[in-house]
Symmetry: C2
Subunit: 590 residues, 2 copies
């Protein structure tokens, strides 16, 4: 049900509808849309501060320009809520029954006003340059404007700089809106932010200007939250015949005091109570806490541990570490490449860096994993979260980590099945100085267990149950699934299967694999990630020349966009019943 049938927004079906409105009406619209951002985020979670900050910018854009003839590329696109409300998707904010109809990011499938699916940062300038170059080649006489909106921390990502460098070569229309909300996700994160502050402090007049340095035209807008100012600013640059940077000063969280006062906390919020500001379902992540406990212990014992992350301290609860060890805490900003390369050097030089990464963002540091960390065999320790089949935006799909990491030389990629095992692995990873070690943090509920080895340099599989006929290898997070398959095999087929925790995704235990052949016909692998390039394929290759049958379970080579987990599990044959049925078929064929 539409919670606000009285809102002005109800008459807005397309951007043209706001062009007839008065300034006062547009301001009212901005206030309404701020309320809607809050209500929706409070109900289902979402990006709060970034959206509150760009209301005027967004309204002014659609007021001045003609979307989709003119094209805007939202960087990260987590600040595109107002854009969505004004481009035919208002019901996704007005009506809780339709909250889930729209995604949190731009989506060409949703609207002709969106041009790319985007969820990672720092891509907008390169994308906009590409649109402009294609326009100039294929439709040289069309006069459409191309805009990129970048900021909110994403300007520090190297790709943004590469984009600026090439934008400067363009001889046609391109408007790069730098949405400067003074934040790098967290507070000030490096030299870039010093320079931007200097520009703000001088009302854009400082002669030291990174954009002009690169040959780009430049204008400064001191109050990007004043609607008339933004309208004028956009009018000034509309149809410009060369690239220009419009540096717009905005306030992250504008219009909602808690979001202004706690910018980091309100960057993205899980569902929360709008009155109290408290999380509806507060979570203590036991794995996070256990990791930080171990780091505290090693620091107390004199180990030169440091914690490195790229603008995601919240994911790992790192504020606790930062407060306890401020000189050992490094948030490099949105700069995953730098986080891995810097850690490489720190570890080579004797420190014990622990790098905290989201699987999906770590993709940005693939070459640094290979060419810096692995090639130099640098004993970096890394914790990776988000490598799991989960409901969410395809932009942040985390299931590529096994293929990305486990096929590289020199790296040990460990997959603990419970918290004690994870701590044991971390403890070993920190003590050894032989090689990079990456630990895949479980994402399902906290499990307890007992580590079965303490030196993970050579992996001995943990055979939790010795059985026969069928051996189940359940990797990390899929341990519980393995236990359920074990039980169903017993119940349905009266098979006493062997159940194995392989612990490592890279180091296979050839001894165990060899001896399984003595009294097993089928090996089943279960991994919480993509099958292609995954753990199961390594096992399939091992047994390829032998009589052993191998069945691999995991996710196929595809993107899944906001698909409920239970639906995915059915699709992918990942329910215990489906798995047992599949095993039964193979057993029948023997």
């Amino acid at each position: 049900m539409n919670l606000h049938p009285d809102y002005l927004l109800n008459v807005v079906n397309e951007p043209a509808d706001i062009k007839k409105m008065s300034l006062d009406e547009l301001k009212e619209l901005a206030a309404e849309m701020r309320q809607l951002v809050l209500e929706r985020a409070a109900a289902i979670g979402g990006h709060v501060g970034p959206n509150l900050g760009v209301m005027e910018l967004t309204i002014a854009y659609h007021y001045v320009f003609n979307s989709p003839h003119d094209k805007i590329v939202w960087d990260v696109s987590h600040q595109s809520y107002a854009h969505k409300m004004l481009t035919g998707r208002k019901l996704g904010f007005l009506d809780p029954d339709h909250y889930e109809d729209i995604t949190g990011y731009t989506s060409p499938e949703e609207s002709a006003h969106d041009f790319f699916e985007v969820g990672h940062t720092s891509t907008s300038i390169s994308l906009a340059v590409g649109l402009a170059q294609a326009r100039d080649l294929t439709k040289p006489h069309s006069k459409n404007n191309i805009l990129a909106v970048i900021g909110d921390g994403s300007l520090s990502g190297g790709l943004a700089f590469e984009g600026l460098n090439n934008a400067a070569k363009l001889h046609s229309n391109l408007i790069i809106v730098v949405n400067d909300n003074q934040m790098a996700i967290d507070k000030d994160q490096g030299g870039l932010y010093k320079g931007l502050k200097n520009l703000r402090d001088t009302n854009g007049k400082s002669p030291n200007n990174i954009f002009k340095f690169m040959g780009l035209d430049y204008k400064y807008v001191a109050d990007g939250n004043d609607l008339q100012t933004m309208i004028n600013a956009f009018r000034d640059v509309k149809n410009i015949d060369h690239p220009i940077v419009l540096h717009v000063n905005t306030l992250k969280g504008k219009g909602y005091t808690p979001a202004v006062e706690h910018k980091m906390e309100y960057h993205w919020r899980a569902p929360f109570d709008l009155k109290t500001g408290k999380d509806k379902h507060p979570v203590v992540n036991g794995y996070n806490e256990a990791v930080l406990d171990e780091l505290d212990k090693q620091i107390a014992a004199g180990m030169p541990v440091v914690a490195i992350n790229a603008a995601i301290p919240g994911v790992f609860g790192l504020k606790r570490f930062q407060e306890a060890h401020p000189d050992r805490y490094f948030d490099v900003g949105i700069a995953e490449q730098d986080s891995v390369t810097t850690a490489t050097a720190m570890a080579v030089a004797g420190a014990r860096p622990v790098v905290f990464q989201n699987s999906t963002f770590l993709q940005r540091a693939y070459d640094q994993l290979i060419h810096d960390m692995a090639l130099n065999d640098s004993p970096v320790v890394m914790i990776v979260r988000g490598g799991t089949i989960a409901q969410g935006s395809a932009t942040h799909q985390g299931t590529f980590d096994i293929s990305m990491i486990s096929n590289l030389p020199n790296i040990e990629y460990l997959a603990p099945t419970n918290v004690e095992e994870m701590v044991s692995m971390l403890h070993w990873a920190l003590k050894q100085r032989e090689q990079p070690v990456i630990i895949r943090q479980p994402e399902k509920e906290l499990l307890h267990g007992k580590p079965t080895q303490d030196d993970y340099g050579v992996i001995n599989y943990d055979v939790a149950h010795h059985g026969s006929e069928v051996a189940i290898m359940a990797v990390g997070d899929f341990w519980e699934l393995g236990e359920r398959v074990y039980e169903q095999l017993k119940k349905k087929l009266n098979i006493d299967a062997t159940l194995i925790n392989p612990k490592s995704i890279t180091g296979i235990d050839q001894h165990d694999l060899h001896h399984l052949a003595e009294n097993h016909d089928v090996v089943v692998t279960l991994e919480d990630g993509n099958l292609n390039g995954g753990f199961g394929e390594t096992i399939a290759r091992y047994y390829g020349p032998t009589d052993m049958k191998v069945i691999n379970f995991g996710a196929p080579r595809e993107f899944a966009d906001n698909v409920p987990l239970d639906v995915m599990n059915e699709w992918y044959h990942l329910t215990p019943k489906q798995i047992v049925d599949d095993i039964e078929k193979v057993l029948h064929s023997l």
Copy 2:
């Protein structure tokens, strides 16, 4: 035999030995070392211009600082020849018998004066920041200097910018030497170079200074090829207590006129004649030529084709394209991320971008492949070279491409076996608008053949010979190896094998695979790349639950540094004899 027993360099066994020399002697040393760079590169190939340009910088460094207590990180490290000569490795330049003893890049295995194996660009600032942070944490009272030498095009790589951003947060010694030789590998490549030119033109005095913008201290050195100037410059910044950028103007190719006049050609040279400057073994790459012919044809027919590369036009012979179609040629500089993301947008907007990539450098755009190109299903066409098991530096090992690309959704990764097939695939890739298509260009000799399909949207394996018992699937470049295995199987085991060209590394032909089971016991996969995450494992997974035996041949999960190809082939069981022996063993076990 030492070709120059009379050289002053002969008395230099460690950097301390040059500290006693007079300025005149040091200048003589520089002249000698220039000659040695030329002689060695002419004989076995190597980086010419970059090394000629930094002689004075390198001598001054070792004259002023105390290596390895003070530490220098060479970006890319292809300009470290002089550094090697002065740190105990002179024989690798004086004596042709020892040319091959040293690599073309820094190597901790070679010398305590090298700290990292490096061959990719833009990493040095992050590495140096890491060394500095580790120093400050573990040895806060040691006063050693940490230097990064970056330039020669590598400052445009996004990681360099991420590094600068974080360098500005340091409160201790760090000296970033920007070796500004006015080049971006090729000539001017974007805004960054405009800004650097402005700094040079104003003798470093322009108030618009990207380094100062980021809060970094800054000094300019107008003549980085004057030894006394460089000595003074280094003395000025030695033991500085905060990060500083030393912007040094040098001449790429200094001291050798052809290298100065043809900077791009002399960046790296294959063996050449020092007198005539001509290549000793001129190569015409038939695959390159065929690709460019097809692009010319499509452009003539009106297709909006553009060619994009990231500072490697020489690898693909793209100067020809640039001359014919200057407005359709985009060299983005060293900025692989940008190259893929820009191409994504161009293809979405209707242009037909063809991106030319080296396998090893494409690693830097892994997230752009996933999150930009594949997620948006953008019909980018890409040609990848260097995905081959080859002798060379481990820094540039190209064998990760199959694992990197073929496991991602939406992308079709094609592996032609001959030039006509490659053109046919390219032709289809350009005509279709459904999905990204990447073509793995063969690296072995030019083969001719006949394409067996013209729409590669659904792959039909080409069964070149229908046999029984054993089926050989030979991917791309390994086609000839497949033919030889076929022949040896017939000769040695009297087996009439089936020989298959799978054409695609991603799209498997389930129909063919299914029917192979009717009269085959063993499937053999041959791929010129890493086994882990490779094509063979996909086939092993497919047949995992069946009676079919699968044997995968390829390279193991390891780095191979300058290992001769025939040695690697033996190690990896990739000779026809070894392959047939391995097949025989499996057949005997049936």
